[in-house]
């Protein structure tokens, strides 16, 4: 059984994980629709890393959010498709989409100070993610996985930290926790939307190195949105977004 699974995985490596085709995202505003992305296309193979580079306002974040179909109101996907393992996320039902979000595709947001819920402990926010995607998951096991992931992102004394609230962490620490949350379910793809922009320069490099290192060791695909090209390591495919379109 395990050998068959391995075979499938080995075959899958070459397969396309994500295929974004002619994605058009519009925002329905009072004065008519405003186009946020106009025909974005790119492919991502399993374990491949894509850097999406572009100036602010080019449509990077909107592209990222539209992959998991989570564009804020009044935005909507006007045309195009986002195929994940051949399934179109843009037209998928909400219930089906929920089994993919945070489970097979995780997202890391821009500002770690705003991303965590201030009134819930880190532990609660990690454990709930695991329990939402696995009905058989018990609290103790989820806690164990959460601790393991916190160690992976180098959070010291994670047992104690699990009981603490977001305001007890610095910005860099919070972004580490968010990365740990993104890693919880061992996703196939991580979308990181300028994960270091809100941090100060010394922390930026640390977080970026951590993210790349984890991606390599876990073999995850990644889409990284950045406003500048400053990645020093790893194999990257680069796509440049300019005027709401992509080009290689």
């Amino acid at each position: 059984m395990s050998s068959i699974l391995n075979c499938i995985r080995a075959d899958d490596v070459m397969a396309t994980l994500l295929e974004v085709k002619d994605l058009v995202v519009k925002f329905a505003l009072r004065g008519g629709d405003v186009t946020a992305t106009n025909g974005v296309s790119f492919d991502l193979a399993r374990g491949e890393r894509l850097g999406l580079v572009g100036e602010s306002g080019a449509g990077k974040s909107v592209t990222g959010f539209s992959i998991i179909n989570l564009i804020s109101q009044p935005g909507y996907i006007a045309s195009g498709s986002v195929n994940f393992h051949g399934e179109n996320l843009a037209t998928m039902s909400a219930a089906r989409l929920r089994t993919i979000r945070g489970n097979r595709i995780s997202m890391i947001f821009q500002d770690p100070m705003m991303t965590l819920n201030p009134v819930l402990t880190i532990g609660t926010q990690m454990i709930e993610t695991l329990m939402a995607h696995n009905l058989q998951m018990c609290k103790e096991r989820a806690r164990g996985i959460a601790l393991e992931k916190l160690r992976k992102v180098h959070i010291p004394s994670p047992e104690r930290r699990l009981e603490q609230y977001p305001h007890e962490f610095s910005g860099g620490m919070r972004q580490r926790i968010i990365i740990a949350i993104a890693l919880l379910t061992d996703p196939e793809l991580i979308i990181a939307d300028e994960p270091t922009t809100a941090l100060d320069v010394t922390i930026q490099a640390e977080i970026m190195d951590l993210l790349i290192e984890l991606c390599e060791t876990e073999g995850m695909g990644m889409i990284l949105m950045l406003d500048t090209c400053r990645c020093r390591s790893g194999n990257w495919t680069l796509a440049v977004m300019y005027l709401r379109r992509t080009g290689y």
Binding site: R98, G102, T115, N117, V119, L120, E128, T129
Partner: protein
């Protein structure tokens, strides 16, 4: 947490102290107690002697200390009308008012939370639109008008509900309760609905506005990105954050509700503190007025202290700052 509690209790004492000064000032300036007690057929000399005996010629601060000393022991003087200690009269009337406030707060909580949350997560639903326009009407109509309209419809026209009084009461250890009999509940229904008619729409709007703001936040978006269920996002992630400002406003509004009982109790002939207060004003029964002021002040302080403690339980930032100091 303990430091936080102690700090709040000290603040409560300062507020009660200020209320006592105001109460004392009212007592000093409203009416002449000697006049009230002796009548007009007493000579000026005798009056002077009487004043000396009662300590009314002492400097105000000596009198204040004496007032405070007595007040601490629960003695706020005798009511001119009831010829009994004002504190006794207050304590006798308090259950009626507290039950009325309790039931209408219950109505506000039970209805505002689900309706507010619903109209926040389904802002375009026809029920939400109806609630929003209906709540404007609710806020705009004064309590006494609501009360009179209710009496007209449910008592005069339909004859379903009694229009005045508390109905059948059960005495438990000095607390005469109307909440243990069916008759008592029938009597409290209209007054409590009338009393909550201002607070309910206000709270529906408050909860809706706060919830909608929270739902726009990044951490809710992140919760969606984590693939959590709608229910978990609405009722755990969003609602807990919505609660923080609602608790604060709720504490203040509870005090306002006690003040509104004056109108409601007058319309429904409800034998509580509000009704007593109106009578005391008409009879210029100053000891009773002072006792009412002190009582309501203390209730407000106690309620707000409890509300702050609850706030501390919900908001982790406050809890920690208390523990570290």
């Amino acid at each position: 947490m303990i430091a936080f509690v102690i700090r709040r209790i000290i603040q409560a004492f300062i507020v009660i102290f200020i209320i006592s000064v105001i109460g004392f000032a009212v007592k000093q300036s409203v009416g002449d107690p000697v006049r009230e007690m002796t009548g007009i057929s007493v000579s000026a000399e005798e009056l002077q002697e009487f004043r000396e005996k009662l300590g009314l010629n002492d400097p105000w601060y000596v009198q204040y200390v004496r007032f405070l000393g007595k007040a601490v022991q629960g003695d706020l003087g005798n009511s001119f009308f009831y010829k009994r200690p004002a504190t006794d009269v207050i304590l006798e009337k308090a259950p009626a008012t507290l039950e009325l406030v309790f039931v209408s707060s219950l109505i506000v909580i039970l209805f505002s939370v689900p309706l507010g949350v619903f109209s926040a997560i389904r802002p375009n639903h026809f029920l939400s639109r109806f609630l929003m326009s209906g709540s404007i009407v609710g806020v705009s109509i004064p309590v006494f008008l609501t009360a009179i309209m209710m009496i007209y419809v449910f008592s005069v026209k339909l004859g379903w509900l009694p229009s005045f009084g508390r109905g059948e009461l059960v005495m438990i250890g000095g607390w005469d309760s109307g909440l243990l009999t069916v008759d008592g509940w029938l009597h409290i229904l209209m007054p409590s609905v009338a009393l909550s008619s201002i607070m309910l729409p206000l709270f529906i709007r408050l909860i809706r506005a706060e919830m909608m703001e929270v739902l726009e936040s990044e951490y809710i978006k992140f919760a969606w990105a984590k693939g959590l269920s709608n229910r978990r996002i609405w009722f755990v992630h969003a609602f807990k954050n919505t609660l923080l400002p609602v608790i604060t406003v709720g504490g203040v509004q509870l005090g306002v509700t006690i003040a509104f009982t004056i109108l409601t109790e007058t319309v429904f002939q409800w034998q509580g503190l509000g009704f007593m207060f109106m009578e005391a004003v008409e009879r210029s029964d100053s000891p009773l007025l002072v006792a009412y002021l002190m009582f309501v002040g203390i209730v407000m302080v106690v309620v707000n202290t409890i509300v702050d403690l609850i706030y501390g339980l919900v908001n982790p930032t406050i809890r920690i700052s208390g523990a570290s100091s």
